[in-house]
C-alpha cells in the first residue's frame, strides 16, 4: 500500500476549496477539579468532495473532533468555518439549523426510529425543515432510490437487514442534499459483505455527488479506502496521511498492520 506521510498543517486537498476549516480549535472538559484537554489547538482543512477517514484510540479526542465538526458541540476556543460560515460559536438552535442544512449524520447503530417506516425515517430531517408532506415524500423517495431501497420504502426497521437499515440511514443523511456527511463507524455493526456494500455506496456518493465524507473507523481496511487518513491522538491530529491510490474495492488488510 502506498501511503504518503504529509507534514502537519500541509494542505492535502490541493486546489479543492475547503468545506471544513478548523483554526486553533481547543476543547476542554471540566470534570470536578480536573480540566481535560480533549482537543488541543487543532488546525484542519478538508476540501469539497474529499473522503477522509479519522482513526484513533478511544479517548484520543476523535469523538470530540467529530462532535465539533457535526456542530453537536462547541469548541472552547478557536474557529470553525463550515462552508465558509463561522459556526463554532452559534446558539443551540442555530447549530440545529446548520445540522439540518449542511450535515448528514450516519451512526454506527443506524438510529432509525422504530415502528416507523423507512420512508418516514428518511423524511425526518425534512419535517424540521418545515416542508409539506408531499414535498417530503418526493424527496425521501428520491433519496431511497439513490441507496437502492425504493422497494422497501414502507418497511419498518425491524423488517430490514442491518445493511438495509444503514442504507435507509444514509438516505436520511442524503435527503437534505448536505455538502458534508459525517459517519461514525458506519459499518461497525455490519458483517464484511454488507460492509462492502455500504462502503461502495458511500464512495459512489463522494464521487458522483461531490459530497464530502468524514468517517470515523477503527478498521484499517475501511480507512484504506479513504483518500486521506487523520490519526488523532491525545487531542491532536498526529498524522495526516494522503492515500494517493485509493483502492476501488475492499481488500484483505494484510498490507497494513491491523489496528486490532
Amino acid at each position: 500500500m502506498a501511503l504518503r506521510l504529509l507534514g502537519k498543517g500541509e494542505e492535502s486537498a490541493g486546489s479543492s476549496p475547503p468545506i471544513i476549516e478548523l483554526a486553533g480549535v481547543c476543547k476542554n472538559y471540566t470534570t470536578g477539579p480536573e480540566v481535560v484537554h480533549a482537543l488541543i489547538d487543532v488546525d484542519l482543512r478538508i476540501g469539497v468532495g474529499e473522503f477522509v477517514a479519522v482513526i484513533g484510540a478511544s479517548g484520543s479526542g476523535k469523538s470530540t473532533l467529530m462532535n465539533i465538526l457535526g456542530c453537536l458541540d462547541r469548541p472552547t476556543s478557536g474557529e470553525y468555518l463550515l462552508g465558509g460560515i463561522s459556526v463554532g460559536a452559534r446558539s443551540i438552535d442555530e447549530r440545529a439549523l446548520v445540522r439540518n442544512r449542511m450535515i448528514g449524520f450516519i451512526f454506527q447503530g443506524f438510529n432509525l426510529l422504530p415502528r416507523t417506516t423507512a420512508l418516514e425515517n428518511v423524511e425526518l430531517p425534512l419535517v424540521y425543515r418545515g416542508l409539506s408532506r408531499k414535498q417530503r415524500r418526493r424527496m425521501a423517495l428520491e433519496a431511497l432510490g439513490q441507496v437502492g431501497l425504493l422497494g422497501r420504502a414502507l418497511h419498518r426497521p425491524n423488517e430490514l437487514s442491518g445493511g438495509q437499515q444503514q442504507r435507509v440511514a444514509i438516505a436520511r443523511a442524503l435527503v437534505t442534499r448536505p455538502p458534508l456527511l459525517l459517519a461514525d463507524e458506519p459499518t461497525g455493526n455490519l458483517d464484511s459483505k454488507t460492509t462492502g456494500e455500504v462502503m461502495d455506496l458511500l464512495e459512489r456518493l463522494v464521487e458522483e455527488e461531490r459530497i464530502t465524507l468524514v468517517l470515523v473507523t477503527h478498521e484499517d481496511e475501511i480507512a484504506e479506502r479513504a483518500q486521506r487518513v487523520l490519526t488523532v491522538r491525545d487531542g491532536r491530529i498526529e498524522r495526516d496521511l494522503q492515500n494517493r491510490a485509493p483502492p476501488p474495492a475492499p481488500r484483505p488488510a494484510e498490507s497494513l498492520e491491523s489496528g486490532r
Partner: protein
Amino acid sequence: MSAFVESLRLALRSVLRSGLRSTLTVLGILIGIAAVVTVVALGESARGQVAAQIQSLGSNLIYVFNGEGEGQSRAGERAGHRLMVADAEAIRREVPGLRAITVYSSTTTQVVSDFETASIDVVGADQDYATVRGYAIESGRDLSRSEVDAKAKVCLIGASAAEKLFGKSDPVGYSVRIGRHRFEIIGLLSRKGQSPFGSDQDNRLVMPIGGWHARVFPGHERKVDIIIASAPDSASVEGLRNQMDQVMLEQHHISSSGKRDFRLLTQDSFRKSEEEIYQVLSLVLISVAAISLFVGGVGVMNIMLVNVTERRREIGTRLAVGARQQDIRWQFLAEAITLTCFGGVAGLALAIGGLHILERQLGWSLALPLTAVGAALGTSVVLGIAFGLWPAQRAARLDPIEALRYE
C-alpha cells in the same frame, strides 16, 4: 405548521401504540374529568330544575307544620296533630295581607271510577288550594266557598289521577267513589309534575276539608296536616310569616317565649336545603375531581419522564438531523396533551353514563351542556400542559451528544 401537524400525528400514534399503558396512565384523568363534567352538568341544569320544582309548589309560600317533627306525618300519628281548621280561619281573618290560605290533609286511598280503581292521594283543603299551590283549572271550575262550607261531595282531580281513572277523556262531570261515598268531579287541575320531595303532584283528588274529615279520614275532626299560605310577593313573606306566628301562638295559648307545637317554614327554606344538597354533592365531586386530576396528572408526568428517558436516542437523532429545542419540547408536550385528552374524552363518556344514572335517581333531567364538554376538553389540555411541560422541557434540554450515546 407542517411540523405542528406532524407532531400531533406522531403523538397520537405513540399514545395509541401503547394502548394499555396509556389507559392505565389516564385513569385518574378519566375519573377526574368525569367528575368535572358531572359538576358542570349539575350546576347548569339541576339548579334550574330544583328552582323550577320548588316554584311548582306555588309562589312565596309559608307553611305551618305540626310539632317539631317532620312536616308530613303519616296517618297513624295524626293523634298528635295540633293544627286545626280553626287555626287557618284565624290566620285568614287576622293576617289580611296574605294572598290566599288553605289547610291541607292528605291520605292515599283506593278511588274507584266507572272504569278503573287506582291508589290516589286524596287531599282535604279549602277553596283556595288551587290558588295557593298554583294549579290552573284546566277544565270545569274550582271549588267554591259555599261548597267548602257545606262539605259538598265534589272534588278536583289531578292530571295523573284523571288519566288513571278516566284515560284520555275529560273527567269533569263524572263521579268517583271512595269507600261508600260518591264525589262529583267539578274540575281538572293542570299538570305540575314531580315535587322537589319526589312525589307526583298530579296523582290527587282535592275535596273540601270538612267532607274529607267526615267521609275519607274520619276520627280526627278538624285536625289538619299543614296550613299553607301564599304571600303576594317575596318581599312580604318574612313579615307575614311573623304575623302568622303571632296568630298561631294566640290560637294555641303559647307565650312568645314558650315551646311552639307548630313549625313555620317558608319556601325559601326548601330552596336552601335543596341548595345545600347540591352544594354538598358539588363539593364531593369537586374534591374527587381535584384529587383524581392531580393523581392522574402526576401519572402522566411520570409516564412522560419514562418516555423521555426511554427515547433519548430518538431525541438525540432528532436533534442531530436538525430538530430545534422547541420542536422536541412541542413533540413531548403534544404527546402529554394527547394522553390527557384521551383521558378527557373517556371521562366525558363515563360522565354521560353517570348522568343517565343520576337522572334516574334524582328525577332531574340532566342534559349535557356544551360548557361541560368544553370544561372537560379544556381541563384535559390544561392538565397536559401543566404536567407535560416539565418532561418536555427535560427532553428539549437534552445534550444531543449525551442523548446519542445512550443505548
